[in-house]
Amino acid sequence: MRTTNGMKALAVARKELRQIVRDRRTLVILLVLPVFFLLLYGYALNWDIRHVRIAVDDRDHSAESRSLVSAFVNSGYFDLAAAADDRTIRTLLDRSEVRAILIIPSGLGRAVRTARPIAVQVLLNGDNANTATTVMSYALTIVRSESARYQPTAAQPLVSVEPRIWYNPELRSTLFLVPGLIAYITMITAVVSTALSIVREKERGTMEQVRMAPIDAGPFVVGKTIPYFAISLVSALGIVIAAMALFGMPMRGSWLVLLLALSLFLIGALGIGLFISSVADTQQVAFQAAMLASFLPTFMLSGFIFPISSMPPFLQVVTYAVPARYFLRALRAIVLKGTGIETVWQDLAALVGFGLAVLTLAAVRLRRQWS
């Protein structure tokens, strides 16, 4: 009985794979689109930034302070947009009139002349973390080279920068975002393709013909999801490799652990797709539900863009039901920190739990519809 079920599942898997291969559109969605998305989002986040509007609050009014300001302007990265003072600093940033404010403390000239270390302040709008990081590094370079003019050999630069980042003090970097993109793209393609593949059979009437055969819902569903699992896994690995090649994402951990994390995450995603296919009767409804179920939580509630710790308590509770939350943490740990299974096992266990729960739910519903 077991071998028969296995054979039937295999027949379904083979059929599904043939259909996918013959269907250019599905293949493109599964294999090409993810990498394309990565490029699109990745470069959008990492755009070379020029002409950053900056305001200057010069409290020193010395030759040295004026020289620092012209260094900023002459670099080509900054446009002097306004002069700031104590009262206007907040409104300038709040209204996004400028991205950054350079505050030169009084005494800069004297400090430089007497070779006493001093710090200038740079206030940054951190709502777009990537821009902020880039702008910060420009500011650092400029101030360092200015400082070197006065004291070329110092171990510690004479003039240092004291950055203050508003709105997003943790300043999440591109590297920090790429794993989020991987989770996000994998989730969407896996959920959408699984949900559509089953609902399509309902819509076209082939489901009814299949239900007449002595095949249980179990082997049918397993057979249908195997190809999507395999293709999604390949696609996810493709994104990881593309992220390494294009965005310099490191891969410090073990590929085996990464593969495990990806697989567990995918099983949950396929489970969501299956569940949607048990609820929806038309491809249109299935597509919308799949987008909603994968897009929103993965984008908003996983810690991808918004840190979970700064969410309202109610939403923080909701994030426990979002698989991307665990996957993202595990992925960042594996890829960026190189931690092994001993640190990420809790997140992986949570993914197993989520997968089991959603698969059970989907199986119960599909089986009820089957007979």
Partner: protein, 309 residues
């Protein structure tokens, strides 16, 4: 023993009764026709007999198994071809056959024998690697039938298998049905084509979810007993019909091509004479006039009309 035995089978969708206390038996090896207008409840009844839809009431026993108790057992013994073409259009003929053989659990040897049989039966040998989407209507239906009988079921349900298919292909298809029946397979088939009903051993006319008539086509026609159908070819058929409708002995009239059929509660000779006198008296020139055998269409319309009243 009957191949199919249906008792008081009922299905409601909300307040609407789609199938209403249907009761009949189908003998082994019989070709049993389901006739009825759109929405009569034929597909709903078939889907209940196949175990795809739960009845609201009544029982259906198929191949000796109660569908309500063991739908899976029934599924193993029957073949079903749904009203819509429901094979995988992107797959080739061969891939479709292999897929269905796979989910029916056919092992290698049997798969090969059955695959060859189906290809030969449907005449699709040279089209094995054509995508199902590219097959013409008649071929598709034959492939559908082939995939439905891969596991050699003794009972086959065909829901409007010849819908939208040209006359030559229809005749081809019915040869296949006759062939199945000759090998002892029981076939329950729905159709809108009355000429196809003549191929059936017995027909059931379904109207408004109810069984309106049941029997061989000859028996159904005999239901006209004691009444006569007079076919009238007249110069002005509309006037002829008006005159006929006014006669007390004429039950009803209907248009058949260029002729008018009048159902008369009289013996044939007397009926013909009375009608001719009335028409000519009314100034309508009669070209030809005489009693005819009721066609199945006469029967169908008559049954439908009486069931509505």
């Amino acid at each position: 023993m009957s191949a199919i035995s249906v008792h008081d089978l009922t299905r409601r969708f909300g307040d609407f009764v789609a199938v209403d206390r249907l009761t009949f038996e189908v003998r082994e090896g019989e070709i049993f026709g389901f006739l009825g207008s759109n929405g009569a409840g034929k597909s709903t009844a078939i889907r209940m007999m196949c175990g795809l839809l739960k009845p609201s009431g009544g029982t259906a026993t198929v191949g000796g198994i109660d569908v309500g108790r063991d739908p899976e057992g029934v599924k193993r013994r029957i073949g079903y071809m749904s009203q819509r073409f429901s094979l995988y259009e992107r797959l080739t003929v061969d891939q479709n056959i292999r897929f269905f053989a796979g989910i029916y659990g056919l092992r290698r040897d049997r798969l090969e024998t059955r695959r060859r049989f189906v290809l030969e039966m449907s005449g699709l040998q040279s089209r094995e690697h054509v995508r199902a989407a590219d097959l013409a209507g008649g071929w598709r239906q034959r492939l559908g039938l082939g995939c439905a009988i891969l596991h050699e079921p003794p009972i086959v349900f065909l829901d409007e298998p010849t819908g939208g298919v040209d006359p030559v292909s229809r005749r081809e298809f019915w040869r296949l049905i006759d062939g199945l029946s000759a090998r002892g397979v029981t076939v329950l088939v729905t159709t809108h084509y009355l000429d196809e009903a003549e191929h059936c051993h017995r027909v059931a006319i379904i109207h408004g979810g109810r069984l309106a008539a049941l029997g061989t086509t000859a028996e159904l026609k005999r239901a006209f007993h004691g009444r006569t159908i007079i076919e009238v070819h007249a110069g002005r058929p509309v006037d002829a019909m008006r005159l006929l409708d006014d006669m007390p002995d004429v039950e009803k009239t209907s248009v058949f091509g260029t002729a008018v059929h009048a159902v008369v509660s009289m013996k044939p000779g007397e009926a013909a004479r009375t009608i001719r006198e009335r028409l000519e008296g009314g100034g309508v020139a009669v070209t030809r006039l005489g009693p005819v055998e009721p066609s199945l269409e006469d029967v169908f319309l008559d049954v439908a009309e009486r069931a509505t009243q």
